[in-house]
């Protein structure tokens, strides 16, 4: 087991390095010259060259990439002399448009994205797994058909449409919820909670629908397994057959998918955050794309990749706990 863990972590570092290299290369090749952006209006070619030299943009790709990696590990300084800016480790870059390090910008917004992701995840897991189980138990009945119809709806409705409909119904018409506004948790926890209700629902609906289908299909598959026949032939009560023999194999694949989905969302729920004006990582990414703030876009890309890669490893490790076949092989 420790050897397995070390191996997985080493592989994870390798993948993250490759992700960094690939992302850096894409932005290096495709992006407009950062020096031009830094320089602003009334710029002369001499001034641009000066900035390029100052920021190290005139050096070869590999030198720049290694400097970037060095910044991730130990922090770095952009420029020299009076105009130099510090970027503490882990330095994901510096936004000259916002005069802030990308790491700081992400640090301010990550809690919002995490709150949205955690709340939505709880909601979709509960709703998805429970309705999937109900669908499997009631397979072929009208309950199952209604659930199937609902999941189809949940999967097809776009987030922004659902967000607008919910706002109109819950806020404008019924006035059950206040219009979402950023309120810190410490200031008014109740208000803070109400603000997140709609984003949670909007984000959770699609996932809940997908999880309903996944759970239903897995449970129905598991019920066909020969070891369920063995459990019944042993004389076990249906309750035990379900709890001990059906649920665990049926829900194991859900863990995998959940790990991936949740990790992906930590990199920001772009549409939901934008529609509700929540200042999370996703909205920051959208804003940065509009402003063409390259370091921020790259930073968010790397962050999202980081979460996905780490999420993968976490799922692998969790799997060794829940599936003995993987555990022993590990």
């Amino acid at each position: 087991m420790p050897r397995y863990l070390v191996g997985r972590l080493a592989a994870m570092v390798g993948v993250l390095l490759l992700v960094c290299l690939f992302t850096y290369a894409v932005f290096f090749l495709l992006s407009p010259d950062p020096a031009v952006q830094v320089c602003g209006k009334n710029c002369t070619p001499e001034r641009i060259d000066q900035i390029r030299a100052n920021l190290g943009l005139d050096r070869p790709f590999w030198t720049q990439f290694l400097t970037f990696l060095g910044g991730l590990v130990a922090g770095r300084t952009y420029g020299e002399g009076a105009g130099a800016v510090e970027c503490a480790a882990p330095c994901l870059g510096y936004s000259f448009q916002s005069s802030q390090s990308v790491t700081d910008m992400i640090g301010q917004r990550l809690p919002v994205s995490a709150t949205i992701a955690v709340g939505a995840a709880v909601l979709w897991l509960l709703v998805g797994v429970v309705s999937g189980l109900v669908g499997a138990v009631k397979q072929g009945t009208w309950v199952d058909r209604v659930l199937t119809g609902l999941t189809l709806g949940g999967l097809s409705i776009p987030n922004y449409v659902l967000a607008l409909v919910l706002q109109y119904v819950l806020v404008v018409q019924l006035q059950w919820l206040p219009f979402p506004q950023a309120v810190p948790f410490g200031e008014d926890p109740g208000r803070w909670f109400l603000n997140f209700v709609m984003p949670w629902i909007v984000l959770a609906v699609g996932y809940a629908a997908a999880y309903t289908r996944l759970t239903r299909a897995n449970v129905i598959d598991t019920l066909q397994e020969n070891f369920l026949r063995t459990a019944r032939a042993k004389g076990l009560a249906p309750r035990l057959v379900w709890r001990r023999h059906a649920l665990r194999p049926a829900l194991t694949p859900v863990v995998t998918v959940f790990g991936m989905d949740f990790a992906g969302l930590l990199g920001g729920a772009l549409i939901t955050e934008t529609v509700f004006g929540l200042n999370g990582v996703g909205k920051m990414a959208a804003d940065s794309i509009a402003k063409n703030d390259q370091p921020v876009i790259m930073g968010v890309t790397l962050l999202a990749a980081f979460f996905v890669v780490v999420g993968n490893v976490v799922v692998d490790v969790v799997y060794t706990v829940i599936d003995p076949r993987v555990r022993v092989a590990a």
Partner: protein, 286 residues
């Protein structure tokens, strides 16, 4: 006709007029029809037939484990108790306790998520009130030793995938034996195993029968298996019994054309090789 032969009222297992049918687009289709089986306490009955002849459904019908869409008619008496008249909770007390089953594919028949010990203990605990975990574990280890699994005290904590095919089937048999059943229904117990392992499992079943006096219903398509283990044999085809009787009599002097076809289909080492004939080509329909 032997298929309608009178059943013995004193038999330990007495299946009378068993019919299993499934709904189809044109009504119900019988997959087992009007089948009678009898087995004395401690006896061994082989049920043979090609795939689709209704053998396995017969075993599930005896246990009351048919899929929900199946319809069952007829009576199943075990030691005088009518299993077909019992409620589901009453049947559960019989399943795994008085009647145990062993299935064809031991890997998929064992739950991959639990140790073999846990699965044997579960079978035992569900029929014995108030046993401690330690007692159950002792029973599991003893049952594994009983089926000659080496180093049982250690292997009891292994998972099914850590066993070879033959060892898994031994685990299944150990699980079945843990409650000391009166009847073991073995549904193709050796079909998924390779030949040398098959022989070992058959020897084991034979030994257990000899030592415990367990009655055995052996369901198989393999005539060699029947000849080795069973005393009585029922030949099934398309859900019906076409011939029944003592093994020696049926094998030496088959009355029904289908039985003759089945026997002829077994390759013999001392035979001249003739062209193979499809089974049932001689019009073996009963």
């Amino acid at each position: 006709m032997s298929a309608t032969q009178r059943t013995d009222a004193s038999a330990f297992l007495d299946v009378r007029d068993l019919t299993v049918s499934f709904p189809t687009s044109t009504g119900h289709t019988d997959v087992v029809s009007h089948l009678d089986l009898t087995l004395d306490a401690g006896g061994a009955l082989g049920v043979v037939g090609e795939s689709g002849s209704g053998k396995s459904l017969t075993s599930l019908a005896i246990m009351g484990l048919l899929p929900p869409s199946a319809k069952r008619a007829g009576r199943v008496l075990l030691g005088g108790d009518d299993l077909t008249a019992m409620s589901e909770p009453q049947l559960r007390r019989i399943r795994g306790d008085r009647v145990a089953m062993v299935f064809q594919d031991p890997l998929s028949s064992l739950n991959p998520y639990y140790t073999v010990g846990a699965q044997i203990e579960e079978a035992y605990c569900s029929h014995r009130r108030g046993v401690t975990r330690r007692q159950a574990r002792t029973v599991a280890v003893a049952a594994m030793e009983r089926v000659h699994i080496k180093d049982a005290a250690r292997r009891v904590d292994d998972y099914p995938h850590q066993f070879s095919g033959g060892m898994r089937q031994r685990v299944m048999i150990a699980m079945a034996l843990s409650t000391e059943p009166e009847l073991l229904i073995a549904d193709e117990p050796t079909t998924a195993l390779d030949v040398t392992v098959q022989a070992q499992i058959l020897d084991l079943l034979q030994e257990i029968r000899r030592d415990t006096g367990l009655a055995l219903v052996l369901i198989t398509h393999d005539l060699a298996v029947v000849s080795e283990l069973a005393e009585q044999v029922v030949v099934m085809r398309r859900g019906e019994c076409v011939e029944r009787g003592p093994v020696e009599a049926i094998f030496s002097d088959p009355q029904h054309a289908y039985t003759r076809d089945l026997l002829d289909a077994v390759p013999r080492i001392d035979d001249e090789i003739a062209a193979l004939r499809p089974v049932g080509a001689t019009g073996g329909r009963a």
